[in-house]
C-alpha cells in the first residue's frame, strides 16, 4: 500500500506522521510525506527538520506542497498513486469536545482517496 501523510507542523500532524512511520516500519508500505509549507502551523517550525527526525531510517518520498494546504493536499492525494491519505486532527476544546477545523472538514468532504484520521 502507498500511504500519503499530510504534515503541516501541528502536533496532530506530527503524531499522524509518527504513527504512520511506525506502521510502515512493520508493514513495508510505501510512504510519501506531504509538507504543507503554507499552513499556519508550518510558519513557526522547521518542517523539513521535523519530518526528517520523524522518519528516522524509514524510506519515504517527500512532496513539498505550496498554496492552500487542504485543497492542495487533496489534489495531490487524488492525483497520485496513493491508497490512503493520512491526516491528524480533531483538536479538543477546554471541555474535551472534538473540534474539526476547516482543514480537516475540507479534506473529509473532498478527498476521494480513502482517509485515515489519526487521533
Amino acid at each position: 500500500m502507498h500511504l500519503l501523510v499530510g504534515v503541516d507542523g501541528s502536533d496532530d500532524s506530527l503524531a499522524a506522521l509518527s504513527a504512520t512511520v511506525d506502521r510502515v516500519s512493520e508493514t513495508g508500505d510505501d510512504l510519501t510525506v506531504a509538507l504543507l509549507l503554507d499552513a499556519e502551523a508550518a510558519a513557526d517550525v522547521d518542517l523539513d527538520e521535523l519530518v526528517r527526525d520523524a522518519l528516522g531510517d524509514v524510506n519515504a518520498t517527500r512532496e513539498r506542497v505550496s498554496g492552500d494546504p487542504a485543497s492542495r493536499l487533496v489534489e495531490l492525494a487524488d492525483g497520485g498513486p496513493y491508497d490512503r491519505l493520512v491526516v491528524g486532527g480533531g483538536s479538543r476544546s477546554p471541555l474535551g469536545k472534538v473540534n474539526l477545523d476547516q482543514f480537516l472538514e475540507f479534506v473529509l468532504l473532498n478527498a476521494t482517496t480513502t482517509l485515515t484520521l489519526v487521533r
Binding site: 499556519e40 480533531g90 479538543r92 476544546s93 477546554p94 471541555l95 469536545k97 473540534n99 476547516q102 472538514e105
Partner: protein
Amino acid sequence: MTGRTYPDERAGPFEGPPRRFTDAEGRDIAVRDADADDYDDLVAMYDAFDPEDRAQGIPPMRPDDVRKWVADLLGEECSNVVARHGDDVVGHATLVPDVATPGADDDVTATDAVDTSDPEEYELAIFVTRAYQGAGIGTQLLEALLGKGQADGVEYVWLTVERWNDPALALYRSVGFVTSNAETFELEMGIRL
C-alpha cells in the same frame, strides 16, 4: 479574547442553585452545586451514559477516560451543578475556563501572554441521562449554572452544538445563547452574562 463574538445584551438574571422542582414526569429533582463529593455519582452517571447521547467526543467512552475527565471538570477553576433524583445524579452542567489564545495550543510567547488566572471566556456543556431528558431538567440545570456563573463573575460563555440537535438548540436559545459562528463544523453559540 479569542475573537469570538458575543451578544451586546446581557442575558438573565438567572437564579443559581439550589433549586428543587417536579419535572414533567412527576419526579422530584434537586439541582445543587457540585464538588469533589459528587465525583463517584458523576462517574456512575457517565459510565452508564447512552453512547447515542454523546456529543463531539464527550463524555468519554472508556472508564479510565471518564474518571480523568470528571476529575478535571471538578477542578478548582470550573463550575458545576448536578441534578439529582433521589441519590442518583441524572444531569450535569459545567463551565470550564477557556484560556486558549487563537491558534496557540501550548506555547505562550511574550507577545501572546495570557493571564491564566483570570479567564475571560468559559465553555459550557450540559448532559442529562436519557431517561430524564425532555422533562425540563436541562432548562433548570442550565439556568442554575448560568446563575452560579453570574454570581461568580463569569461574563462570556460559549458552547458548540451539533447542528441537527434541535432540542439543544432550542434550549440554548431560550436562555439567550446566540449563534456566534455558523461556518464551523459544529455550531458555535455565545452568551453574555
